[in-house]
């Protein structure tokens, strides 16, 4: 009897072994033994990032440049000015042609030199695998000779050089095998191992053209839960944790071994109005809601001070932003505006006009945990003066806003308003009627005309002047209510030296960063 039972257990054990055995090569217990490799004298750090990568192909995922694996021809510096990177210089030949000269001595991780031909091949691959970037770059033809490469665009395109900053426009060795997991490029670190949606392990590339990195090893891990990232930083599992939610900062700040770095981002949080809704087509109503937003409290309480109150789409640090004070919180003024618009309080204390009460649906999402809080705050303020707001929290805000355009009136939203140090992108995608990020169907003819003019102007001063005008129109029309510019909040271990986060979030791992 005992033997039969023993056999049964063996069968069971075999099944388990079979199931595990199928994939024993990737058994998780065999991963990550180098967790504390600093003990062996190696300098290694772990960076914890919020967006998981499913591929590390630098032409398709941002982590290639972010993790210091790949590099682009040009980069932006702290002031978001364009600076040479793999290209040491460039010149514009005419409205459609540019010639870039690639730095001598740049090598791929396998030691081969980078020349014009390699750059051309890299861009050819971009056209193949990344439709969105391809349509953005508008490259017509390319010609390589020696260290030079000449681009010709399909149309007059003043923004071409700044588009090359895009991390997917990076230079990689195109004939390498398995680019999605083991790309070969020019950065200070090369990929040792990549586990989709979990981590990238990197080691120093000794032949890096700008001086080999100080660190021996870097691990970039992904975790989409901000609370977990904060906890992992405190327990020492990560040395740098990106995008910490403001509410998790107190214990991090209280910890002597940790510091919080906070830089202004290129992003704005705002309330988007659905221009297709009759109630919101009334400027008085939009202005009234704008007055109900208490920006100071949102900054100090919800964001724990890690934000700047907003007065328009662009951060006041930019030349093309305007420097007016943000709209102040004034519920009585809001009430007056609504009265002007014809709204009266009914017996239940709700505002109503022509027998219809002012009830609005506000869409929000958890992806940025502060947004639902702002939504609830606005809901409470609105209730005080008789506007009923119903909140819906959706998982995928973008498809909701587009696919259910009839259902929402307001949305808390967040966008990069000046991704490469220029507002042209945002004016195009968020305000033009056919804009790809304009689910609220905003259509302000005056602004459209201005944006079209902006698109063909290269001169920086003229661009600034036009964008300032655009901001003024936006402030008059209130198609959105800008709440604040959030900071990028990064928790950093005190052992990390020579490193601070940049607003652009393009260059996370550098050759100069170091540990004690």
């Amino acid at each position: 009897m005992f033997q039969k039972q023993l056999m049964m257990y063996l069968v069971f054990a075999m099944i388990l072994a079979f199931v595990t055995g199928c994939n024993s090569g990737e058994d998780p217990s065999s991963q990550g033994e180098s967790e504390i490799s600093s003990e062996t004298g190696d300098k290694s750090i772990t960076l914890l990032f919020s967006f998981a990568s499913t591929t590390i192909d630098p032409h398709q995922d941002w982590m290639g440049v972010r993790a210091g694996i790949a590099e682009t021809l040009v980069k932006v510096d702290e002031d978001l000015d364009i600076k040479p990177w793999l290209a040491e210089s460039w010149e514009q030949n005419d409205d459609r042609t540019w010639t870039f000269t690639i730095r001598e001595g740049v090598t791929f991780h396998d030691g081969t030199a980078v020349n014009g031909e390699a750059v051309k091949a890299s861009f050819e691959r971009i056209m193949e695998v990344n439709d969105a970037l391809a349509s953005n770059l508008k490259i017509d033809t390319m010609e390589a000779s020696g260290q030079d490469i000449t681009f010709t665009t399909t149309e007059e395109y003043p923004a071409f050089v700044s588009e090359l900053v895009h991390t997917n426009a990076s230079i990689i060795k195109v004939d390498a095998e398995n680019i999605s997991e083991q790309p070969i490029a020019t950065g200070p670190f090369q990929v040792v191992d990549f586990t989709s949606e979990a981590e990238v392990k990197l080691e120093r590339y000794d032949g890096y053209w700008d001086g080999a990195a100080n660190l021996d090893e870097v691990t970039v891990k992904f975790n989409s839960d901000g609370n977990v990232r904060a906890l992992a930083l405190q327990s020492g599992e990560a040395d740098i944790a990106y995008h910490l939610p403001p509410e998790t900062l107190d214990p991090v700040e209280a910890n002597d071994n940790l510091r919080v770095e906070s830089v202004s981002s290129l992003r704005a949080h705002f309330v988007l109005y659905n221009a297709a809704k009759p109630a919101l087509q009334d400027l008085h109503v939009r202005k009234a809601i704008d007055l109900l937003i208490n920006r100071d409290v949102a900054v100090s309480e919800i964001m724990n001070g890690h934000a700047t109150a907003a007065n328009g789409p662009f951060n006041p640090d930019f030349a093309f932003a305007n420097n007016e004070e943000p709209e102040s919180y004034d519920p009585s003024q809001a009430e007056a505006l609504l009265k002007q618009a014809g709204y009266e309080k009914n017996e239940n204390g709700k505002l109503e006009k022509d027998g219809e009460s002012l009830t609005l649906t506000l869409a929000t999402f958890q992806g940025r945990p502060e947004l639902p809080l702002m939504a609830q705050y606005l809901q409470a303020e609105a209730a005080n003066i008789g506007i009923e707001i119903n909140i819906v929290t959706v998982e995928n805000i973008d498809s909701y806003l587009w696919d259910q355009q009839d259902e929402w009136d307001l949305a808390t939203y967040s966008m990069l308003t000046a991704p490469r140090g220029d507002g042209g992108y945002f004016l195009n995608v968020a305000y033009l009627p056919e804009g790809s990020l304009n689910p609220g169907q905003i259509n302000i003819p005056e602004l459209n005309e201005l944006t079209q003019r902006l698109n063909v102007i290269a001169n920086v001063d003229e661009r600034v002047a036009l964008q300032k005008q655009a901001v003024e129109i936006i402030q008059e029309e209130v198609p959105q209510s800008f709440i604040l510019y959030p900071h990028i909040i990064v928790g950093v271990s005190e052992r990390i030296k020579n490193w601070s986060p940049g607003s652009e979030e393009y260059y996370l791992i550098t050759n100069t960063m170091d540990v004690e």
Binding site: N227, P245, E247, D250, Q366, Y377, A380, V394, E395, Y400
Partner: protein, 282 residues
């Protein structure tokens, strides 16, 4: 036959049952009358009093928007417990008739039906609920739809099994032969036979559903703000649990107490009805 008195005293003598009844009375009191005694408006936002600790003013402190946690938990009892019960009642209303009919009719229809049900039952119900709720979009209504969709099957399955065992017994056959309508046979003879099992399952299931709702809320598919459903409160308080652990602890305790109450009642009722077979309702 036992007298009603004896039955009641047998019911109460079971220690689990008596604790369960006390808990249930307490929760019922909170659910029905709690609203009248809450010290604060559970929806009143007060940004100047965020994340306060316990005080005489705010018994369990305030949350991330300055709302009174105690008031919200009391107010949330109605929602959380009510929703759990509602979902189970709906599942019973769908599952029991189908189970009764399928078992009573028997034959190929029954066999076909049960094949499908067995197929679905073997799949993890939690994942199914995530898939349904996830695709319908996060809201309490959709969660209830998802839960009813995955739970009714269990009732249909169990009831059908009981009916199969029961319907060949003499009294049912007599009823059939004596020209009673099928409906009457089912109602008069079969339904009363399966009732005790349904009651026991339902008692335990209410607890399970509350756990299910809270888990779905934790994943982000739950109630919409500012609704103080306990699972949603747990989810909202997650980010603060280091700074103000009470935001996590008390809603969790409330859930635990309620589920415990359901389990105690279920356990007590099980031994009261003397249901021996381990029907865990999966």
């Amino acid at each position: 036959m036992e007298t009603a008195m004896m039955k009641t005293s047998r019911l109460i003598r079971n220690p689990n049952m008596s604790i369960g009844i006390v808990l249930a009375l307490f929760l019922a009191g909170v659910t029905f009358f709690g609203g009248a005694f809450v010290p604060h408006d559970p929806f009143q936002i007060d940004m100047n009093n965020r994340l306060q600790g316990m005080s005489s003013e705010h018994l369990l402190g305030t949350d991330q928007l300055g709302r009174d946690v105690f008031s919200r938990i009391i107010y949330g009892a109605k929602l959380t417990i009510g929703l759990g019960m509602f979902a189970i009642v709906m599942a019973i209303c769908i599952g029991v008739p189908i189970g009764l009919l399928s078992g009573y009719i028997g034959g190929k229809i029954d066999a076909f039906f049960m094949r499908i049900i067995d197929g679905i039952l073997a799949f993890p119900d939690f994942i199914l609920a995530i898939a349904i709720a996830g695709m319908l979009g996060p809201s309490l209504t959709n969660i209830i739809i998802a839960i009813v969709l995955v739970r009714w099957i269990v009732y249909a399955r169990v009831v059908r099994g009981l009916v199969l065992a029961e319907k060949e017994k003499e009294y049912v056959l007599v009823s059939k032969v004596s020209n009673s309508s099928s409906f009457k046979t089912i109602r008069m003879h079969l339904l009363p036979q399966v009732m005790p099992d349904i009651i026991v399952m339902a008692a335990i299931d209410v607890g399970k559903v509350i756990l299910l709702i809270s888990a779905l809320s934790y994943i982000g598919l739950g109630a919409q703000p500012p609704i103080p459903e306990w699972g949603a409160m747990l989810n909202d308080g997650r980010g603060y649990f280091q700074v103000v652990p009470s935001l996590m602890i008390y809603p969790g305790l409330a859930i635990m107490l309620t589920v415990l109450c359901c389990n105690l009642l279920g356990d007590g009722l099980k031994s009261y009805f003397d249901i021996r077979k381990g029907r865990d309702g999966l």
